[in-house]
Amino acid sequence: MKRALQLLLPGLLALLLVACAGTSVRGTGDLGLVIERAAGHVALVNTSFRSAYARIGGLGDLSHASVVYSRDARYAYVFGRDGGLTKIDLLEARIDKRVMQSGNAIGGSISQDGRIVVAQNYTPGGIKAFDAETLELLSEVPAEYAPGQFSKVVGLADVPGNKFAYALFDGGEIWVSDFTDPKKPVTTRYPAGLQPYDGLVTPDGRYYLAGLFGEDGIALLDLWQPEKGARKILEKYGRGEEKLPVFKMPHLRGWSVAAGRAWLPAIGRHEVLVADASTWKETGRVAVKGQPVFVMASPDGRQIWVNFAFPDNGWVQVIDTLSGQVVQTLQPGKAVLHMEFTPRGEAVWISARDDNRVVIYDTRNFARLGEIPVDAPSGIFFTSRAARIGF
């Protein structure tokens, strides 16, 4: 209760603004949402006031929760670990709808036309499509890669043409499902490699990349010429050396294409791999403090912000994309789980789970601009995601 108050007070002004949405018209471009991992709550936040303006509970198990936005950037769809799918109205600060869609979900995506929300599930492995308006189930694609064998699904991303691309951890394939007819998706399969653990689509929607855990390399599918199949890039980046243990799987989602290059976490090496984003040849690598988890490009592509797996999860490093060097090392707090840039990148919000706070930095001079108390914060999601491919 005390924490809720603490959280709410600084945001009172913003709250007033939002609460009056009925009478005074308001946009959502500077709003967002922070997952409170432990408590099953979300904090609604405002990046202009740098504050939280509301807190909503009853969302179930939110470990590993992720969020996508409706195309009008008013509604957030929160995918919970327990299979809960909750649609939140940012303006009225309330739950609009909530359904239980599966036993074990790890994320979701929204179609190019904004009409279909898709959840990716570990068990039962596969994807499920819902009407974005009503959350009514439209169709599902079980990840049955061999008779009777179902795979965990990872790396779900929306791609142009109302399609979704995703990878099968156990099946070693990339699948692309076309939802032109939302009730009858058509799926094409592409062999990818051993144990894809996550995926991303480039900002232009052209390439889908699946990081591989079971081998050194990344599977790349050109969605403009899918008939050519997936090929491997950055092969053997480990040079046969023994891998370091990976205490948390990296996340690829998030634009990591900047300055004409793709910046990707290595697996089992404390490095960020750099590849030319047209030839996909390795152009370098950057030594960092630990196993990278998120490798995120700022909106202008000038900086790459990196956080790390346990036990190096108190650090954040910043790479300058022009020099390819680490230019800043920060300690935002204990157990840094996620980072999110404001829409045009003048600031970055960083969640420090074990310090119960979100810390805000100026991206130009790395000054601390402020912090917001949030219970065990994990993912931070701003509405600017609504207009981006692959978010």
Partner: protein, 100 residues
Amino acid sequence: MASLLLACPALPAAAEPSAARQKELIHLVRQDCGSCHGMTLQGGLGPALLPATLAGKPAESLVATIIGGRPGTPMPPWHQFVAEDEAQWIVARLMTGFPQ
């Protein structure tokens, strides 16, 4: 014998971690093991670690999995951070219902 001891939470294993350390271990399991096994331990990239799913599995092999990891899978070795008797304590708790 070891597994008998472990199966019975009333009998503390040889070196029970201190109360402060137990708190740290609970946090580690829920939060950091939780990134793969789920914070509620109902499974994720890694399998569920609930009494029902672990029932009948030999405790020593689960302890060995925690200490040494499982090569070829994402399960990493935790020996740098968790001692053998601490892993035994974790397994005993996992098998009977892990504390919050």
